[in-house]
């Protein structure tokens, strides 16, 4: 029996119990507690032997099951006066209630999934209408929504594709854009002149990092006009022969 325990991913101890109950074709309201406890413990052992992380909740349930099992074995001592209320109550009652309740929501979840789910079964228009009177702005959005959008994108990516860059301070990125702007109006900038204007140490570091990043992505070029001469920064030039193939820049 135990060797054939299917290794599904169980959502939790209640899920595992429901699975065992279904497998044994018994009723939730009349659980053969000894059998189910044995199989439950065997499953936990199997999970552990496979180095699956068995969460604490599974162990708590194991203890509960063992406790119920032991209470079931006790004779219903002197139950005459107490009636069903205390000693005579089925020790499984609370567990049964929890199982039934959980099962109910499990079914509800399945029903939800069977509905026409947006962006899986049905779709709405995603384009902002093209026929607005004038291209007005967008409705106000909070930066948190923007960040949430980014996080959504990152979560869809395979884990190793999420660069540590996403956590970096945005300042370097901003500086990169500003540097490119500067180079648009002034074709060449002298390195020393650029850094002389910076006031704080932080600014120097950020500017330098931005510069390196731009060199790496081949958007700018850093060179000396002659050996020992000033260091110059300019926008990278198109590779030979490429220039004529592309249209002029907008604006």
């Amino acid at each position: 029996m135990t060797t054939r325990v299917q290794l599904e991913i169980f959502e939790g101890p209640l899920d595992l119990l429901l699975h065992l109950i279904k497998k044994n074709e018994v009723s939730v309201t009349d659980i053969p507690i000894a059998t189910i406890t044995e199989q439950y413990l065997a499953t936990l052992e199997l999970m552990q032997s496979l180095n699956l992380d068995v969460a604490g909740e599974f162990l708590v349930m194991a203890a509960t099951l063992i406790h119920i099992k032991s209470r079931m074995l006790l004779p219903v001592a002197g139950a005459d006066d107490e009636e069903e209320e205390e000693a005579g109550a089925d020790p499984r009652a609370e567990l049964v209630r929890r199982l039934l309740e959980y099962q109910r929501f499990k079914e509800a979840a399945e029903q939800l999934e069977q509905r026409e789910v947006l962006e899986r079964d049905v779709f709405v228009r995603c384009a902002a209408s093209t026929e607005r009177p004038e291209p007005a702005g967008f409705r106000e959005v909070s930066v948190f929504e923007l960040l949430t959008a980014l996080r959504r994108v990152l979560e869809r990516l395979p884990k190793n594709a999420v660069h540590e860059v996403t956590l970096e301070r945005i300042t370097v990125r901003e500086k990169m854009t500003l540097l490119l702007d500067m180079l648009r109006s002034t074709p060449q900038v002298i390195f020393d002149a650029l850094f002389a204007k910076l006031k704080t140490r932080m600014e120097v570091v950020v500017t330098f990092l931005a510069m390196l990043e731009l060199v790496k992505m081949r958007a700018i070029r850093i060179f000396q006009d002659r050996p020992g001469g000033s260091i110059l920064i300019e926008r990278a030039k198109a590779p030979e022969g490429a220039a004529s193939l592309v249209p002029a820049e907008p604006d």
Binding site: E11, G12, P13, L14, D15, A55, E57, M61, R97, R98, L100, E101, Y102, R104, F105, K106, E107, A108, A109, E110, Q111, L112, E113, R115, E116, V117, L118, E119, R120, D121, V122, F123, V124, R125, C126, A128, S129, E131, T148, R151, R152, E155, R156
Partner: protein, 189 residues
């Protein structure tokens, strides 16, 4: 206004709307037309689209009307739009179902029902705007009480929460504790 003309206008409005349009909103725009007339025209439009097995359907969701693609064309639409929709895990769906039926509800209460920790799942649901914190429960720690959003209704093509299928024997099995809590909360907010 002729019925056909009205339907044409409604089609245009529903096409450009960026979310479900309530009857109220439609009625504000197409003024001078009785609501009953509007409703009749919307229903006619709806059934015509069904009958033609059109690629666009008119659905009642989240308290309003919205145009959506026909379900049977889903594969093609997905191919055009690319990207995989975020698949909802069983844990997410179960937690969402519990919140939907038992709202407002705290994280701890959800955990009691599911028997496991739901921290991560709650975060995902909040981020996807499917649930929101509606209040705090006045117990030690003042935990958030969660409820579902308009986006939830839209996601599952529900007109309102009453469209959720009823849970079997819910009332009989709900522990009295939960009910009295509910009563206390209602008195509060």
């Amino acid at each position: 206004m002729e019925r056909e003309e009205l339907k044409s206008i409604l089609e245009s409005l529903l096409f450009v709307a960026d979310g479900p349009l309530t009857l109220q909103r439609i009625s504000d725009v197409v003024d001078g037309v009785e609501r009953s007339e509007l409703r009749a025209a919307l229903e006619e439009l709806q059934s015509e689209l069904e009958r033609r097995a059109a690629g666009i359907r008119l659905m009642e969701v989240a308290g309003g009307y919205q145009m959506r693609t026909a379900k049977r064309n889903a594969e093609w639409v997905k191919k055009l739009l690319g990207g995989r929709p975020p698949r909802m895990s069983r844990a997410t769906l179960e937690t969402l179902a519990i919140i939907a039926y038992r709202q407002p509800i705290t994280k701890a209460e959800i955990e009691t029902i599911r028997g496991v920790d739901v921290d991560g799942v709650i975060g995902t649901l909040l981020e996807r705007n499917l649930i929101r914190a509606v209040a705090r429960k006045e117990v030690p720690g003042r935990p958030f009480l969660y409820g579902t959003t308009q986006e939830f209704l839209q996601l599952f093509n529900l007109k309102d929460l009453s469209q959720l299928p009823t849970l079997k024997e819910m009332e009989e099995l709900a522990p009295p504790v939960v009910e009295s809590e509910q009563a206390r909360l209602e008195g509060e907010d």
